[in-house]
Amino acid sequence: MTTTEFEAPRTETREPILKARNLVKTFGRVVGLDGVSLDLYPGEVLAVIGDNGAGKSTLIKCLTGAEVPDTGELFVSGQQVHFKRPQDARVHGIETVYQNLAVSPALDVASNLFLGREERLPGPLGSLFRILDTKGMRKKAKEELTRLGISTLQDVTVPVENLSGGQRQAVAVARAAAFGSKVVVLDEPTAALGVRESNQVLQLVRDLRDRGLPVILISHNMPHVFDVADRIHIQRLGKCAATITPQSHTMTDAVAIMTGAAKA
């Protein structure tokens, strides 16, 4: 089996939106990332798969500012960046949906969509008294959900804790999609979901891609990965074992590379 990073021909000429080079991250004596490089091109879904402890989460955390890599370089649209905290990545248009969702259960849907970047009323009411534009945010939240085709969330004033798992996931994805201008990163978005809800989330991923927003998708679920991904980055023992496409390899091949049964 010969696998290279050049197999998807359409990616050769384009400048990657997100480019990581030789990322290394250690935790004490444990090596989380051992020189990983990654390219994300416009309008593609890049899946990152790997066994437990292969460095998937660490890789994603380094890309989104939740962890700072020891060494290695990170480029957004060709410009080198250094992320110290999640906000830094956010400023560069990288939005992340974390596995634990990062939604605030007691706050309503609209508040959650705007959590951490609330909008204030125009004029002195907003600048002097710092009053939130609750109505405006609710309206925008509704528009955003409609635009994303999330029909299951009609009422943006419902507290998130009253929602089902899929609806919460939809809120988190909607937040990322609404504010992510360059990249959306989804960490195990279907892990806790049922069949129908998973399909809804996967459809959301396709919709994002169709709108030109590249997506990084971390998942354990091979059928889901092979369903939506354009390219698949396989992590193994802290390194990138291979980058394949659903066309070039089967699920069995991917699992074999992931577990080390086959050389990439």
Partner: protein, 348 residues
Amino acid sequence: MTQQQTAGPPSAGHADLAEEFLDRQTPLSRIRNILHRYPALSPAIVLLIAVVVFGLLNDRFLRVENLSLITQQVAMVGTLAIAQTLIILTAGIDLSVGAVMILSSMVIAQLAVSNGIPGPIALLAGLAVGLGSGALNGFLVTRFRLPPFIVTLGTLNIFIALTLLYSGGSTVRGSAMPDMLTWLGSTFPIGPVRISTGVVMMLLLYVAVAFILGKTAWGRHVYAVGDDKEAARLAGIPVNRVLMSVYLAAGAVLAIGAWIQIGRTNAASPNAGVDLNLDSITAVVIGGTSLFGGRGSIWGSLLGALIVGVFRNGLSLAGLDVLYQTLAVGILIIIAVSVDQWIRKVKS
């Protein structure tokens, strides 16, 4: 939650049925949902029932003078409950509120009386004490990641000791102080009722804090941090800065509480109101704010303080021994927390 919100497109078939099955509503769960959405509602109902019952038991209870007396009696606990609510909303607890308030009041009184410092500057010094105490609590909670319970248990003792060391254990009488310091003990008439300025000050604080919690991003962040700290951090909220600002805000409220305390008792005493620490927690808990953070309302705490005041006043008017008042408050706390637990089960 209505079924409309959970039911997906009709084509989804069986999956919908399954979800509806999980979300089936009973009248009881509907009540629970309403109480969950409006945390100040349950204490409001309790207060209303208590007022009606005590009014029926004794016709003196509903007299204007008596109601005015109750509000004056809850002015202290009510003010401390504001600070306590802010901290409990972040899933913390502050055992030192009463001690901070007393320390601040001693500093204000001593500076004005022993050092002859003008009233406004003495009050500013009291504010600095409140902010400093809040900063110490906040620093220990955010930097050393100690549980707020332990931090404030420690600072409670520290502040009590500092108060006694500073004051030498002696009380400063109101008659010796500048008028400004005892101003919040004065009353003014509205019709037949005499309103205490201290009570008005407390109510203004409630309005201000309710506004900030409900209408500003900071208020929303306070709830988010108490609700789920990690989620708040990942959403880009500077969690430690929010926590620190909450402890500072609480300290500022306590300094104003010190001013109210001096007016109310017409003195600054190092031994006054250490039991106010626990009373403020009682008011917040009875007011429906969850000790687990992220849920509750500042108005609930005012209602909680009023409920305690109404029970104490009503029971004593009914001729019951003071021990029964304490007994009643104890039972109220247990009921309030049980109701809170029951309401929280609304989470799916």
